[in-house]
């Protein structure tokens, strides 16, 4: 084989390349040149030969370089084949142009769905009347006149209808009319309907957020396709909404609001404001349905503020639970007589002031602490600044410019200052969770250590507040909120709604703020009703103990098993010191306590 391909070299005359055609002087051109040693011809030939060799070498090197480069590019692909392929085929493109919104367990609350829009190229429409008539026959919700006018407009692009279903698209396609075209589009849908309407908000026809989370995170949802995970738990949200809707219906209230907050992290698990709306039909909803009462509406919250006032007395005023004030006579101030709704007509200890919801006692306690320190304490609890929540609907508290003594007294029992219900829930969470105020949030926090908050109360004061809140439910106005096993603690509040300069006695705003379980509070619950009516079974009363408290209790009974809170056998009441103070009365201490608070 090798002998065939490479035959043995034939020995013959030595010829330089090119010698065959060279015209050597004095020779026959056919005859091979013979070169004498040491002749000029020989030297010239040597030079030519060297040049040829060098040139050939250069070419060989060049071709080798090209060959190596080719092998590198094609066989070894220069290490960039994957990048090149990836660049040529952008895989895993986002399905839609706007990110999803999920609840804390991953349930889809808002998402974009691909749809088609129907438009017309009116220049290609032959007979607008006929086309419009046929189109209306398959899409009856388009008025004939509108369709005809648009088809006859002569414009190259005019929308006929947005967001066709696949069936409608098929029907229009089957018409086979020239000039009707489809355009790929997207539509924001809210699969859970009105369940979390006030949290999610709404989008306009171009899928831009116009309310709620959709508006607050409009840029984020539009640019980043990763889903946005909220702190809401849709099961809790449903239970809360259902219970609240039942209460609003039963007590014929104008509206209602309810919230469930994780007391340790500030995450809102449920936020309901009734009446609510279908997010997809936001524009058609009446304004009272669009109004978010939980975060935007500011209300004088009434006696639930006595929780804050009691914490003020214990933390800033330095009172002990055995201290108290005389509530036997109405408090006269600046032309007002401040009375008690559940009047006891005697000296009351601080726990009794809270349990019997005494306006007189609260007012005297606030006066003895002082207006400046009261204002500073409310500010520390975040009750004087706009609520910090990831919603554009964030309410701004209303409070007097100049803090007079009469303001100090009324604010002690929750009148003369208007805050959002979310303010109160946030402050209550700080009162019961050991004294750390954490900003409320609608976004799910990562697992692990709770976020850093701001210490606003000592741990001891928080312990006392938990005992007091439990007592209100065990012995006071909040009895109907109790759920056996869950150690519910809370406070009722029945505010009279302001009307111009005065208050309307018949228009009440009862609320109940609760936390459970009180030995280690996990969740804070608020229920608020707007102008509920008295019923025969509530003996005609429309105060919080008869409507808001049982509503909060029903919410806790529904929600606690969902949240995995184990019911526990009831503890044996508060410590002896508290109980003695409640039982004792101690008339001698009353007036003295007002003059100089014990340090």
């Amino acid at each position: 084989m090798s002998a065939c391909l490479f035959p043995p070299r034939r020995r013959g005359q030595f010829l330089y390349p090119g010698d065959e055609i060279r015209d050597v002087p004095g020779r026959d051109p056919r005859q091979a040149a013979r070169v004498a040693l040491d002749s000029p011809t020989k030297a010239a030939i040597e030079v030519g030969r060297t040049r040829l060799a060098v040139t050939a070498g250069v070419f060989v090197i060049a071709f080798l370089v090209i060959a190596v480069r080719l092998v590198n590019l094609m066989a070894l692909s220069d290490g960039r084949a994957h990048e090149t392929a990836d660049a040529a085929l952008p895989a895993a493109q986002a399905v839609v142009q706007r990110g999803d919104v999920l609840d804390r367990n991953g349930v889809v609350l808002a998402t974009n769905l691909p749809t088609v829009n129907l438009y017309a190229d009116a220049r290609q429409v032959h007979d607008p009347d006929d086309t419009a008539a046929r189109l209306v026959s398959v899409l009856p919700d388009i008025p004939f006149e509108t369709a005809r006018a648009r088809l006859a407009s002569g414009r190259s692009f005019v929308y006929l209808r947005r967001n066709l279903t696949p069936r409608e698209q098929d029907l229009v396609n089957r018409l086979g009319l020239p000039g009707l075209e489809f355009e790929a589009a997207e539509r924001r849908v809210f699969p859970q309907g009105r369940l979390a309407a006030h949290v999610l908000g709404a989008t306009d026809v171009d899928n831009r957020g116009i309310a709620g989370i959709e508006r607050a995170f409009d840029d984020r949802l539009g640019t980043d396709n990763r889903p946005l995970r909220l702190s809401l738990d849709i099961r809790v949200q449903h239970a809360v909404r259902e219970v609240l809707a039942e209460a609003v219906d039963r007590f014929q209230a104008l509206a209602g609001a309810a919230m469930v907050m994780d007391a340790r992290t500030g995450e809102l698990l449920a936020l309901v404001s009734l009446p609510d709306y279908e997010p997809e039909r936001f524009g058609a909803a009446p304004s009272e349905a669009r109004f978010n009462r939980a975060t935007l509406g500011v209300y004088e919250m009434g006696s639930t503020f006595k929780l804050v006032n009691t914490a003020l007395g214990l933390e800033v005023g330095g009172y002990r639970l055995t201290d108290g004030f005389d509530a036997s006579h109405p408090l006269r101030m600046a032309g007002f007589r401040i009375k008690d709704f559940h009047a006891q007509g005697r000296w009351l200890s601080i726990p009794e002031i809270l349990v019997h919801s005494s306006n007189i006692g609260s007012g005297k306690m606030a006066l003895s602490v002082g207006g400046e320190r009261q204002k500073a304490f409310l500010d520390r609890l975040g009750l004087l600044s706009p609520v910090s929540i990831e919603l554009p609907e964030a309410g701004v508290p209303l409070y007097p410019e100049t803090w007079r003594p009469i303001n100090t007294v009324t604010i002690s029992y929750g009148h003369g200052i208007a805050v959002t219900p979310l303010h109160l829930v946030t402050a209550t969470a700080a009162l019961v969770n050991g004294g750390v105020l954490r900003a409320p949030t609608l976004l799910r926090r990562g697992s692990g250590a709770p976020p850093g908050g701001r210490r606003v109360l000592s741990v001891e004061t928080s312990d006392k507040m938990r005992q007091l809140m439990r007592m209100v439910v065990e012995e006071g106005t909040g009895g109907k909120a109790d759920v056996p096993g869950y150690l519910v603690g809370g406070k009722t509040g029945t505010a009279e709604k302001a009307n111009g300069g005065g208050y309307r006695a018949k228009a009440l705003l009862p609320s109940f703020v609760a936390a459970f379980p009180m030995d280690a509070p996990r969740y804070v619950v608020l229920a608020m009703l707007d102008e509920p009516k008295g019923l025969p079974e509530t003996h005609g009363f429309a105060t919080a103990g008869w409507n808001a408290a049982p509503t909060a209790g029903a919410i806790i009974a529904r929600v606690a098993p969902l949240l995995g809170v184990t019911p526990r056998p009831a503890i044996d009441g508060p410590p002896d010191g508290v109980r003695l103070a409640v039982a004792g009365g101690g008339p001698g201490l009353g007036e003295g306590a007002i003059g100089g608070p014990p340090r």
Partner: protein
Amino acid sequence: MIRGIAIVWGGLVLALATGLFLLKYEVIALEDDLAALTGAIAADREAIHVLRAEWSYLSEPAYLERLVGSHLDLVPVGPERMTTLAALPFRPVARPDAPAPLAPRVLNPGQVDAIPLPGRKPMTAPRPLATLVTLPLHPSRGRP
């Protein structure tokens, strides 16, 4: 020599040309496969996206509750139905001198949420209660 090399090169060129030809058509076929796969993946991803929205729509709590109300006897679990294993009482041990009357047994007797329990096995030996006491998951909690 020259002819041999030429033949070698010629063969190489032919082989290369054939190889390239085959390679080109293989690449075209693979690109078609790739385009089909990419299209299928995109279609599946879109279907998954739509189905996730539909799943959320169909598992809306209010809708499920209506369905449960019309087809099942389930009610929300109340706190009175939650307890821990450790809190469950053991069966009281009968005295040997008292022949136990086999009364119907219920959990939470006299309450609205009373739950009937399975009846006892017929007494065949004097010690079935003792064996029952040792049955629970935590034998150390069993009392004599």
